[in-house]
């Protein structure tokens, strides 16, 4: 049986890849993909802990959380993409650095 730490390491790696993507990608779609990665790393963690703590028991909370995250991720992607498309239509660009209207 694969020990829990492997899953945790995998999740941490995916998380940091995602975080790196979000912080560095100039393309907003890339950043959005990074967010997806971060969300999925959380999912990995949730499933792994559920398997180790509650396998064979009636509690299904870990899986329910994961399902919830899927839904949120789907919604977020849908809204995010719509915003990006809208921004692209106005400014002909999906570059995150161009979007600094809230600069103080």
């Amino acid at each position: 049986m694969i020990p829990l730490s492997w899953y945790l390491i995998l999740a941490a790696v995916v998380m940091f890849i995602g975080l790196y993507g979000v912080l560095t990608r100039k393309n907003l779609i890339g950043a959005l993909m990074g967010i997806e990665l971060m969300l999925n790393s959380v999912n990995i963690n949730l499933v792994a802990f559920w398997r180790y703590l509650h396998a064979g028991k009636p509690e299904m909370d870990g899986l329910v959380f994961v399902a919830m995250v899927f839904v949120v991720a789907a919604a977020e992607t849908a809204v995010g993409l719509a915003l990006i498309i809208s921004a692209y239509r106005r400014r002909k660009s999906v570059d995150a650095n161009d979007m600094d209207l809230l600069k103080g």
């Binding site: 975080l19 912080l23 560095t24 995150a96 979007m99 600094d100 209207l101 809230l102 600069k103 103080g104």
Partner: protein
Amino acid sequence: MAELLAPELLLWLIPALPFAAFVVIAIFTFRSRKLSHSIALVGAGFSFTASMLVILKALQVPELAKNPIASQIKWFPTGDSWFLLGVQIDPLTVVTLAFVAVTILMIFIYSVGYHNFGAPEGRNDIAGLPPKGAEVSHEGHTHRVPSVEPMYARFFALISLFAFAMYLLVVSDNLLGLYIGWEIMGLCSYLLIGFWYGRESARKAAIKAFITTRIGDVFMLLGLAALYALTGTLNYQQILSNQIVLNTLVTSASPIGGLSWAGLIGLLLFAGTIGKSAQFPLHVWLPDAMEGPTPVSAMIHAATMVSAGVYLVARFFPLISAGWTPGQPLTTPMLVMAAVGAFTAIFAATIAATQNDIKRVLAYSTISQLGYMVAALGIGAYSAAVFHLFTHAFFKALLFLGSGSVIHGMEHGAMHTGDEIDTQNMRNMGGLGKKMPLTFATFLAGGLALSGFPLITAGFWSKDAILSGAFTQSTIVFITLALAALLTAFYTARQITLVFLGNARSKAAGDAVESRPAMTIPLAILAVFAIAAGWIGIPKSFPLLGRMSSDWFAEFTGSMLSFKAVEGHSMIPLITSLTVALGGLLLGWLVYRRVKQAEAVDPMEKALGGGFRIIQKKYLVDEFYDLIFIRPSLWFADVFVAKWMDQVVIDGIINGIGRLGLFVGSALRNGFDAPVINGAADGIASGTRGAGGLLRKLQTGRVQQYLAGAVGGLVVLVIVLYSIFK
């Protein structure tokens, strides 16, 4: 039907109908001349008829003075009790109502003619100025004739209101009702004197009349308040026929030293008479009141309204004379009345003898005659005074209406000939007796009555009664009044001679014509009264005639008093009055028949010189008042009270407080607010602003930088938390 003729109801209706006429004309019919004067005449005619019916009823009542016909309504509540307003008729009312009703009706009829009803409208006539005449074409050539008065309906509305006020005054059973009529009459005289309000002189005269009489009125109001406060009523019967009330008033001392309440109230009421009956020193308004439409308002100021003042003191004679019996020293108010009346009688008579304006002569003559009556009351000759009031109303009304007729004839002549002269100046007249025979005859009757022409005229009997009364009571008053009577006869002869006798002294006078029947018929009726009204009062003691007389008048009016009034039974006053009347008339005729030219110097001026001119200027009383009273009070009102006291002193104090507030405020601001509070506040504000300026640099607007910051912050947080909770 019997109830309709009940005297109580009729008494109420006597004043009510003219008032209704006023309201109807003023609101509805003022556009129609004919309708308006018809309504006014119906009102006056009704009042006349009702008055006569009431008088007839009243004469049948035995002891009318003690049991007057009366009726009252509740007027306003005064705590538990009510103030009652009512009407009544007693002997004094009978006498007054009789002459008021006759003269008022005559004026109404006369006015239709005087204001040229039926004449064409003048093209240049405007409201507020006397009509200037109209051009009419007659058989190919045009000539000017008098035109109808532009404010014809208004005139009838106003004299209806006037009639209402006079009737109310006469029939009222209490002093407040009298005062109401008194004041409304003041308003009417103001409006009628100022009827031709467009003229500067009319406007001045109107205000002068109102203000001058008001001086007397405010004193009278105080008298009213005092009487009401002391007796709890203003009803004549309850005060004047009640010896207990009168005794209380006589014995209680007023705040003014040495004067009983009866004396003080008597003086206050007499002040009202001084104003209304134009006694010295408030006589100045009456001559100027001749600015009104010629004979009518002038006549109102001779026959009815000024009689109200004498009526008032006659009415309150029991109060004024309370505590006095014939032969005793006079009470204070009586003394004042005798002095004022006698002085006014002679004072005004001298002025009347110098005037050239036909109406002004009569105006001063009125003042003089009123002085006669006041003096008569002052010396206790009650019945004689009332008698003279009665006869004077008829012959003075007649004289004024006659003078109006003369002026009318002159105006006609002036328009016809284009002669631009003063149509009221007697110097421009002369010889009118031939042109206007009816007017001349009636004027002569009035004039003779005024001068007391013996036996046949009313004026003789009443004047004789006063002189005999004065003879028994006070020699000074007797001599003064006799002199005044001499002057009266003199100026009457002067007037008649200048106006009617001799030859015409101007083109207008040569072309004058007799007035219309609407004017001459009232003259004729009044002339009958001027002659015959005296016969009801021939004293029993009079030689020959006395035996046929019952001396009804003195007995009838005398019943108003609790004691027998002063009467004289001596031959000296009789001879005196015969002498002064005939002598004065003869003298006047002899002196003035020699005036042939309008420009000729007055014969008396030749004799008296500068003294004559001072008298002609009315002893400069007007100028004196202007200097002493009018200018200072106007200055006081305008400069002292309005400008100085309010705007300088009081507002100055207020503004001072305001400036003090401003000073304190600005000191606080500059010394404390600005450096301390504002400094602190400003410091905080600028500090915040600077910090914000630094912080805004953090706000780049880039999502990824924020996120990096958040991650960095998270890392720091984790490290911190770990290092704390490890």
